[in-house]
């Protein structure tokens, strides 16, 4: 049981390392609270943003928490693959730079898994493969579907 756990732990940790350092810069990793007796304590998520000291994920800012949490979630894929992800406005509290980083992370991940995300941001929409517009008509939801030549900024969404 301990070996299986450690095996999973190292895989998730590896994925967090590589995604965080390649897209955000700095580094992020998992730490066992008690190496001698793993199951008697927990697992910390440590994050170091570029130019800042290392911190536990619980004492980050709102936007920093979003980035750390998304990378942790996607890293769990290494031990439990899911065929799809559903994400509802996870970019809401991100500044422009982190919104862009998030898009890059999701773009890369979407080559392996389908990702359906709700977003209100044009910059996020400009990098996706497919867009669905939802709008209300007399209180009833209607769906509009349009292709989007990737990154074609000029192709504003028809409303």
């Amino acid at each position: 049981k301990e070996n299986m756990f450690m095996d999973a732990f190292l895989k998730v940790n590896q994925d967090i390392n590589s995604t965080f350092s390649s897209v955000v810069g700095g580094n992020s990793w998992l730490e066992l609270e008690n190496q001698e007796d793993i199951f008697s304590a927990g697992v910390r998520l440590i994050v170091q943003f570029p130019g800042k000291p290392r911190r536990e994920s619980t004492s980050l800012s709102g936007g920093e928490k979003t980035m750390a949490a998304t990378i942790f979630l996607l890293a769990l894929q290494a031990i439990k693959p899911s065929p799809f992800y559903l994400m509802d406005e996870i970019d809401a509290h991100l500044d422009a730079e982190n919104t862009d980083r998030l898009s890059r992370i999701l773009e890369e991940r979407a080559q392996k898994n389908q990702i359906i995300m709700v977003t209100l941001k044009d910059s996020t929409i400009s990098r996706v493969d497919q867009i669905f517009g939802v709008y209300p008509k007399n209180g009833v939801s209607q769906i509009l579907k349009y292709k989007y030549p990737k990154r074609a900024e000029s192709n504003k969404i028809p409303v």
């Binding site: 732990f9 750390a68 949490a69 942790f72 509802d88 389908q114 929409i125 497919q130």
Partner: protein
Amino acid sequence: VFIKKLEIYGFKSFGFKNTILNFNDGLIAVTGPNGSGKSNVLDAIMFSLGENSPKALRVDKFQSLFHDTYGRANKLVRVSITFDNKDRGIPVNADHVTLTREIEGNAGDSQYYLNGKRVNKSTLTELLQVVVAIPAKINIVQQGMITRISELNSEERRKIIEDIV
């Protein structure tokens, strides 16, 4: 495996017609004004996959899932989800796997259909194991919940990894 199609009838803000979304693989955005029904699309997916908690579907009780813009006349809620299964990720020998969940009458029970055949929810456990990372449902992040995930305490985080293993 990926979600190829979603058909929604009478579920929350979706009306008394079959509203269809044909998905590709890859990265998909759902956008639109506040209150248009974006989160309800995600709720519809969760409903079709057997979600039984009203709170997770963001309603007070199951009756509130019935579309009610024209008064409580509606008596049917139905959501069908079709997976592309060419890679046979789901243990069913078919290129497409369609799971349908419907509730008739306000107090009715849910009926499940797999590729058109009536089935018991308990027979779907294997399929659901594959498509939804039960029990943590780590592949579904509802609106406003993303920062909560990094506020987990270290025990909770250990448990997520432990449960998966």
